[in-house]
């Protein structure tokens, strides 16, 4: 009798252990599929940073780069879905590929970054209130400008990029109603040389601060700023470290953190709000302005930073409503 009891005990212990091990294994695996390539020190790198955060907690994951080859979009999503639980599609370009692929792969959970695709049960879309962050950097740009002209270089004339632009303009006008905002589109996210040409043209038009919203192309804007001794503003990640003398601040859009949040929420309570859109805004803390760290020279005064903080609160509380293109 005793023997049976002890056997039973041992058995149940083993079972409990096994189920514990099972819980360990239950962490989902995550594949991040990016439309372009890593190394932009901006949008795609931010998404990959989110995966690194997840990996630090034991999640298995990988990044698949499509390198702007549109014929690989669908296939990369499918390949990712074959071996991973979560597939994060980074880039608005994945709209149609996801529409085609996701319904065929109902067991995979898709997170779609940067475009609001609703109504498909296994796609959870995340968009960002870039307009709110751009409002703040527009305000800073207008305050720093001595010529009364500021500029922006956009990667493409489309809804997402223009969501930055409307906020930027509004923030600038909030600081100085007479400010002139010059915008130039490069139609390319991967070519720093083009970014530089566009920035040089804007500086020649009298702009003395330029906001880059063009991914890797935007690195050329920093080059132009260095050459001309003028100011630039970074995008998506805190880019100040790239050129601390000319980048006054960056509009941070925490793509990586939002992906991290979405996956951890699922791990914690199993919730996956498929079919819906999460607009990550300033209130959620995923949109902010970065000024690098203490070791870097600061062009923005403490007084101005305090003003920006006050504006942040006004946006969060809804006192200031920032225009949007969405």
């Amino acid at each position: 009798m005793k023997k049976t009891m002890s056997l039973l005990l041992a058995f149940s212990l083993a079972l409990a252990l096994m189920s514990f091990a099972g819980a360990e294994e239950a962490l989902p695996s995550v594949a991040v599929v990016v439309a372009g390539g890593l190394g932009d020190r901006s949008f795609y790198d931010s998404a990959s940073g989110g995966l690194e955060l997840l990996k630090a907690e034991g999640v298995k994951g990988t990044v698949i780069e499509c390198k702007n080859d549109a014929s690989l979009f669908e296939q990369s999503l499918i390949a990712a879905a074959e071996s991973f639980d979560f597939v994060v599609a980074v880039g608005w370009e994945f709209w149609e590929p996801l529409e085609t692929v996701a319904p065929e792969l109902p067991d995979t959970k898709f997170i779609f970054v940067d475009n609001e695709l609703t109504g498909i049960d296994n796609i959870y879309a995340i968009t960002y209130a870039e307009n709110e962050g751009s409002f703040l950097v527009g305000y800073i740009a207008a305050k720093l400008s001595e010529t009364g002209v500021i500029g922006a270089v956009g990667g493409e004339d489309n809804t997402t990029i223009n969501n930055f632009m409307v906020g930027y303009k509004q923030g600038a006008a909030y600081a100085n109603p007479d400010i002139r905002v010059e915008i130039s589109y490069t139609a390319d996210y991967e070519d720093p040389a083009k970014g530089k040409e566009h920035a040089l043209a804007l500086y020649d038009k009298g702009a003395d601060v330029i906001f880059q919203v063009a991914g890797k192309t935007g690195e050329g804007v920093f080059e132009a700023a260095k050459e001309k001794g003028k100011y630039a503003i970074g995008v998506d990640s805190d880019q100040k470290y790239i050129a601390p003398d000319v980048i006054v601040c960056s509009m941070i859009k925490e793509v990586g953190l939002s992906v991290y949040d979405a996956v951890t929420r699922y791990v914690e309570d199993g919730s996956f709000p498929g079919g819906t859109v999460w607009n990550a805004n300033m209130k959620s803390g995923l949109i902010s302005v970065g000024f690098g760290d203490e070791t870097m020279p600061q062009q923005v005064s403490q007084a101005l930073i305090a003003e920006v903080k006050a504006l942040t609160e006004m946006i969060v509380s809804g006192e200031i409503v920032v225009e949007t293109t969405r």
């Binding site: 990988t62 698949i64 390198k67 702007n68 080859d69 549109a70 014929s71 690989l72 669908e74 296939q75 990369s76 499918i78 390949a79 990712a80 071996s83 608005w92 370009e93 709209w95 149609e96 692929v101 065929e104 475009n115 609001e116 695709l117 493409e156 004339d157 489309n158 809804t159 997402t160 139609a187």
Partner: protein, 375 residues
């Protein structure tokens, strides 16, 4: 530079046994170097290459993707070869591809509700016309004004690509939600069916097979192909023989552009269902390399395309499965191309050394019979 390009044109050089032999050695060496790099970065080469082959042919879907990539490569490669046959170096295929895709997308999105049996052929006509006429432009400049086609075709690429980007962002931009830039979608009835579900392999492959056969026949078996070849090898001789060389050049250029235009149509009707500004990611230049490596031989181009497609599709799977960076495959490809570019030089060195040794032997040992020394 020009001499280098000219040396790549098909002339007296054929896809002979010696050439194929050195090609095989190049490929083997490149794969060996790739294996060495896998070793150095801490991966097992056997595992890596196994994952590559499995990733390219292991499942039905993978096989479909590999074949689909091979279709694009071989069609662009054949387009290059058709022009090269008449001695023209068409570097403008990328632009011709974009215009063909745009023309086909316009037909498919404007003429909605027509029977597919009417609309799809019309789209083909549009793509062929757009690509062909656009290729004729540098052709006419070459024939009439002796303007070098390499320069004009390269520059016309930008013109076409930016024109299409303008149309897709401006007058023809769709109002569909979520599409940042692109034309309206073509009628769903016109979309090419997929031959393997969820893969990129569509009915394009069937059309491509027919076109490849046609290319082979024209280039290798027809009189016009022979005349094109003579024009390419020795235009002055061909003219004295009474051939209308100018017309031959124009026709081969138009055919090359038309093929590129059809590749654009394949991308639109097979994959994207609308024209998008990222329609091609320098597909033509990949095809050009394949054509150059295979010395513009149509059969060789098709076979080499399958090999390059295997590297491309398998490379991604290798990265996913084993963790070896897919950039390694780019290195392997580059090494193959590098070796093949050096091949003619290397072959000459080997030939000369052998000749010199034979000559020396003839001088030193007069007792050696002549026939043996030259063999």
């Amino acid at each position: 530079m020009m001499r280098l390009l000219r040396s790549l044109l098909p002339g007296r050089r054929k896809l002979g046994f010696a050439y194929l032999f050195s090609l095989a050695i190049s490929v083997a060496l490149a794969l060996l170097l790739g294996a060495l790099m896998m070793r150095l970065t801490g991966y097992s080469p056997v595992e890596g290459y196994a994952a590559l082959v499995k990733g390219a042919f292991g499942t039905r879907r993978a096989l479909g993707n590999t074949l689909a990539k091979a279709v694009t490569l071989s069609m662009t490669g054949l387009a290059m070869a058709v022009a090269a046959q008449a001695g023209i170096f068409n570097v403008g295929g990328e632009g011709q591809l974009f215009l063909g895709g745009m023309a086909a997308a316009i037909v498919g999105s404007q003429l909605t509700g027509w029977p597919a049996a009417v609309a799809v052929p019309l789209a083909f006509v549009a793509a062929i016309t757009a690509g062909g006429l656009y290729a004729l432009l540098p052709g006419v400049l070459k024939v009439r004004l002796k303007v070098n086609e390499v320069i004009t075709t390269i520059m016309l690429n930008s013109v076409a690509i930016y024109l299409c980007a303008y149309l897709a962002n401006g007058p023809l931009r769709t109002a569909d939600k979520g599409i940042a830039a692109g034309t309206n979608a073509i009628d769903p009835a016109y979309v090419f069916p997929r031959l393997i579900p969820l893969s990129n392999l569509t009915a394009s492959a069937v059309y491509a097979a027919v076109l490849a056969l046609l290319c082979w026949y024209v280039m290798k078996r027809s009189t016009i192909g022979y005349e094109m070849k003579l024009t390419g090898q020795n235009p002055r001789f061909a003219r004295y023989m009474g051939m209308k060389t100018d017309r031959l050049i124009l026709w081969s250029m138009a055919a090359s552009g038309a093929l590129c235009g059809i590749v654009g149509l394949f991308e639109v009707y097979g994959l994207h269902r609308r024209f998008i500004p990222s329609l091609s990611n320098e597909f033509y230049f990949d095809g050009m390399l394949v054509a150059m490596i295979m010395r513009y031989d149509p059969v060789g181009i098709v076979l080499m395309s399958v090999f390059f497609a295997m590297l491309k599709i398998g490379g991604t799977a290798m990265e996913l499965g084993v963790g070896i960076s897919s950039e390694l495959i780019l290195i392997v490809q580059s090494i193959i191309i590098f070796f093949m570019a050096a091949q003619s030089g290397l072959a000459r060195i080997v030939r000369e050394r052998r000749g010199r040794r034979a000559a020396r032997r003839r001088i030193e040992g007069k007792n050696v019979p002549q026939g043996e020394a030259t063999s």
